[in-house]
Symmetry: C2
Subunit: 238 residues, 2 copies
């Protein structure tokens, strides 16, 4: 893991790194002993999307470290032919008013297969830098398409905030998850059918899981859910 530069925003040091060609950021608050939360960004976003940075800063205020990396084909990562093909397909389907949920699910599964080993390698390296500590994962939409197989595969992750996603292809993976999960659902999500998201929550194997559903579209998660997710992490990681 190579740290290239360090900046400070809102009083929180941002340490930029690259690990096996994957660019990422580590937000490390003054109280350096808190849990680490891995933050997954949404589709079309990247490690430094405003929503990711805002969550990292709020976690830092609680004494939590946070880290984000660019998903394959996102941010500074090169786009493969498959990535370009998906973007074009999505554009065409949207223009034609066709349903896109299945294509998104298929592409996201493809991204997840590439992203999970990357996250696990980055986590290895981060815990070497930071020393052992409890770890959480927070990411919705694409951040859940990637995060759900990550949480299922990675025993060091002790709690996760997921949601804004649904895909029958993930049910078996969801069933293998045993750690506490807070699952966000937007009741009027224009990208994720309500039934698909409810079914994915239902499939989660965790004895302790909670569904938070609110009115509005995919991008309309209310601020109170950000507060809630922080309390969730504080409850389960500290």
């Amino acid at each position: 893991m190579k740290f290239s530069s360090s900046t400070i925003a809102n009083g929180v040091p941002e340490r930029h790194f690259v690990h096996d060609d994957v660019p990422g950021i580590l937000w490390l608050p003054a109280a350096r002993s808190g849990p680490l939360v891995l933050l997954g960004h949404g589709g079309g976003q990247h490690r430094r999307a405003p929503g990711v940075v805002a969550r990292a800063h709020r976690l830092a205020a609680l004494g939590f470290a946070a880290a984000a990396i660019d998903a394959p084909g996102h941010g500074l990562r090169p786009r493969t032919e498959r990535d370009e093909h998906f973007a074009a397909t999505l554009r065409d389907l949207r223009a034609a008013g066709e349903p896109i949920a299945e294509d998104i699910a298929r592409y996201n599964a493809d991204l997840a297969a590439r992203a999970v080993p990357e996250w696990r390698a980055v986590l290895d390296a981060l815990l070497e830098v930071l020393g052992p500590r409890t770890v959480g994962y927070g990411g919705t939409s694409l951040g859940t398409a990637i995060g759900m197989p990550l949480v299922a595969a990675e025993p060091r992750i002790g709690a996760a905030v997921l949601g804004l996603f649904g895909s029958p292809g993930l049910h078996a993976t969801a069933a293998r998850i045993a750690v506490p999960v807070e699952f966000q659902l937007q009741w009027d999500d224009e990208l994720v059918p309500r039934e698909a998201a409810l079914a994915l929550f239902d499939a989660l194997g965790s004895a302790e899981k909670t569904l938070h559903a609110n009115p509005g579209g995919h991008a309309g998660v209310p601020r109170s859910e950000v507060d809630s997710s922080e309390r969730f992490f504080a409850r389960h990681l500290t």
Copy 2:
């Protein structure tokens, strides 16, 4: 409104009252200017059920006043022939392993028609005693069968915690509610079909409504939801 006696439990004064033959309790913390939360008990319970008292004490710790009354046919209230008939029907259906959701919904609608005017009269009297303040309502199960028509009818109620209930007969009433609602749902509720509860949440007219679903049966709402409901009241009533 006649106050008959006053006791103190956990440092919170409990003032017992009777209003038009309806017995109730007012919990009034030292900081007397906070909001008032009306607490509805569940089926077969009463104004002083342990869950009601616990919620009242926790609200008092936040500076909130709270009040509960016995629903018709509950606690100290006389049971009518209809109440007795329902209890016997429910017992028989349960013994036979028959579904009981429809009978519960029908009986609860009957109780609600009696209880809503009682709550409104008690609220009139309480606000005379306490002086004007913001008002919330919290009650699940029977507390929602009664609470939903109460919140729809009573413009002084500014926020409500409801849930553990579902009934197509309440959809039109739910649609008239415009205040913020936090709606609790137990994912494995043995008394309330999941789809019926989801449909009742869906029917709520409130622009700001949030569904909190957790695994477990009707009586298994996790402690974190009590915390959440208090934050919800604090957010919307203060």
